[in-house]
């Protein structure tokens, strides 16, 4: 039996070693592929806070991914076309600076998560799933009809945004940015899990009624978790749009929300590295099987089916022989 910490360390080491190897053998595409996995992992890490820790199955997390993407797209679009973005209270020329874009992406995602959370967290179970899905579809169709930013065609950004001191057009340097952010978020997530807030959230997941009898407010705990989760997924969206230098309504799609859930289930819900392993498996299948057949999702479905039926703790659960992170 393998220790979960050992798995976590191996996954992170592998995630770092593969791009370095690709750099050594001059395979920039592999670096981009791993960067994609890292960004998807970051988005799923965000979702895992509400799904794994809080027990809330959000089927609309693509909203925050899309908001992050559009925050990047809109700011970069105005910066590259030297046009003014009129926000009513003030105007801006946009920006190509990544840290500023990330802050905006996280702030807007957090604000939208607050509003969606206030409305949806009063429900639970299938109603919560449906409300979050409805919000996702609302944003999806809004983006399609948003002609100013390309409507269905989306927005292309000619040059990747900049980060002080780095050349982000070099794949390994952009990978380094994404990898450091992922490690930082994983560290913060682990601290959050062990904090009184994280423990209270876990307690509220197990029984809201019992949590209330010790003075915890489940609604408030879930709302804070939902906002944090939305901000992280929004940050991932901004990075994803920067990776592709393109943003489109597909970033809001319900399929993407579903894929994020699938990543978590494959890796192990509630586990620190569950989303990271899930994202790696997803991107690897997409790349290797996608090259062989258009129907690669069938194989993904079979893997998911196998995990749900025989290994409910995900890949980490199977390796450590523990069913769930919570037992």
């Amino acid at each position: 039996m393998i220790n979960e910490r050992m798995i976590n360390a191996l996954v992170l080491a592998g995630l770092l070693a593969l791009p370095l190897y690709a750099l050594a053998v001059d395979e920039p595409f592999t670096i981009t592929l791993v960067t994609r996995a890292v960004i998807l992992a970051l988005a799923a890490v965000g979702l895992n806070i509400v799904l794994g820790f809080g027990g809330m199955v959000s089927f609309g997390h693509a909203v925050f991914f899309g908001i992050g993407g559009y925050a990047m797209g809109i700011l970069a679009y105005h910066a590259q076309t030297y046009s003014t973005l009129d926000l009513g209270l003030f105007t801006t020329e946009g920006t190509k600076l990544m840290p500023v874009i990330w802050l905006v992406a996280m702030a807007v995602s957090g604000l939208v998560a607050l509003i969606i959370g206030l409305l949806s967290l009063r429900t639970s179970g299938v109603y919560f799933i449906m409300i979050t899905l409805a919000f996702g579809q609302m944003f999806f169709y809004f983006a399609i009809s948003w002609a100013e930013y390309g409507g269905e065609d989306g927005v292309s950004i000619y040059v990747r945004n900049s980060f002080p001191g780095l050349n982000t057009l070099v794949p390994i340097q952009f990978f380094a940015i994404c990898f450091v952010i992922l490690c930082l978020v994983l560290f913060l997530k682990e601290r959050l899990r062990a904090s009184p807030f994280g423990l209270a959230l876990n307690a509220a997941r197990q029984s809201a009624t019992r949590a209330e009898t010790v003075g915890l407010n489940p609604m408030r705990l879930r709302l804070v978790a939902f906002v944090i989760s939305g901000m992280i997924t929004g940050l991932a969206g901004a990075l994803f749009a920067d990776l592709n230098r393109f943003v489109s309504p597909s970033m809001f799609s319900w399929q993407l929300s579903g894929e994020l859930i699938v990543l978590i289930i494959i890796g192990g819900a509630g586990r620190l590295m569950g989303p990271v392993i899930g994202a790696c498996v997803f991107v690897a299948l997409e790349h290797f099987l996608g090259g062989l057949t258009d129907f690669w999702h069938v194989y993904l479905g079979l893997i998911l089916l196998g995990i749900v039926l025989f290994g409910r703790g995900g890949i980490i659960g199977m390796l450590t022989r523990t069913e769930g992170a919570h037992v």
Binding site: P196, L199, A200, N202, A203, Q206, S207, T209, R210, A211, E212, T213, V214, G215, L216, N217, P218, H326, V327
Partner: protein, 228 residues
């Protein structure tokens, strides 16, 4: 004026009425035993006090009505509940269970461990892996970590081995002698209750039928209303 004032309390589960007029008063630092046969409304009274179910009548803590408050606000006002069946947070460790419910005040992790040394030996163990008695101690410790002014214990020794029951009764005696926390305790053993309780209230068919000093509860009253 009583610290907890419950007068003519009524409550229902849907169309089925469970409480028909419960009267109960607890002064600060006092220990009151809530007794009665199964199904007479003891746990429902506790749920009503903790606002886990809606109720009518007078329900005041330190002069403040509890009726408009949600359950977590009642807990924050100082009502700590040890629910029937322990119900610890199974996937959290002993330490995490205690930290998750901690509020500022006299009760700290060290003080709880001092009261229940067994918990000190199991701090890193998941609550689900504890014995029934240890889970009960954890449930009491968790309630104490909220730094309550009123501690409610619902069947705190039910289903436990005699030696563990003794351990818990000794801890409750210590709690009574060393703190000023008021305690409302539900149990079926008048003999054990007599060790800690100052007053007793007996419910029958959702209504208070007897109340008075624990010392005044005769064997006749006990047999007639409690069945033991």
């Amino acid at each position: 004026m009583s610290f907890l004032r419950v007068e003519n309390l009524t409550a229902s589960y849907g169309v089925s009425q469970a409480l028909y007029g419960v009267d109960l008063h607890i002064d600060a630092g006092e220990v009151v035993a809530l007794m009665g046969r199964n199904g007479m409304g003891k746990s429902t009274t506790v749920k009503a006090i903790c606002r886990m179910i809606a109720s009518d009548g007078t329900l005041q803590l330190d002069g403040q009505s509890l009726h408009a408050l949600p359950s977590h606000r009642v807990a924050r006002l100082g009502v700590g509940l040890v629910p029937e069946g322990r119900r610890c947070f199974a996937s959290l460790t002993v330490r995490e269970n205690l930290i998750a419910s901690a509020r500022l005040g006299d009760w700290t992790l060290a003080k709880v461990v001092d009261l229940f040394p067994r918990l000190g030996e199991r701090l890193s163990q998941k609550a689900a892996s504890l014995s029934g008695g240890e889970q009960q101690m954890l449930a009491i410790g968790r309630a104490l970590m909220t730094n309550p002014r009123l501690l409610i214990l619902d069947e705190a020794t039910e289903g436990l081995a005699p030696i563990i029951r003794q351990e818990i009764w000794v801890s409750l005696e210590r709690l009574k002698s060393q703190t000023q926390v008021a305690i409302l305790i539900i149990d079926k053993s008048p003999k054990e209750l007599a060790r800690v309780a100052d007053q007793a209230v007996i419910l029958e068919r959702g209504k208070t039928v007897w109340s008075g000093a624990m010392a005044d509860m005769t064997a006749d009253i006990s047999t007639r209303f409690v069945g033991v």
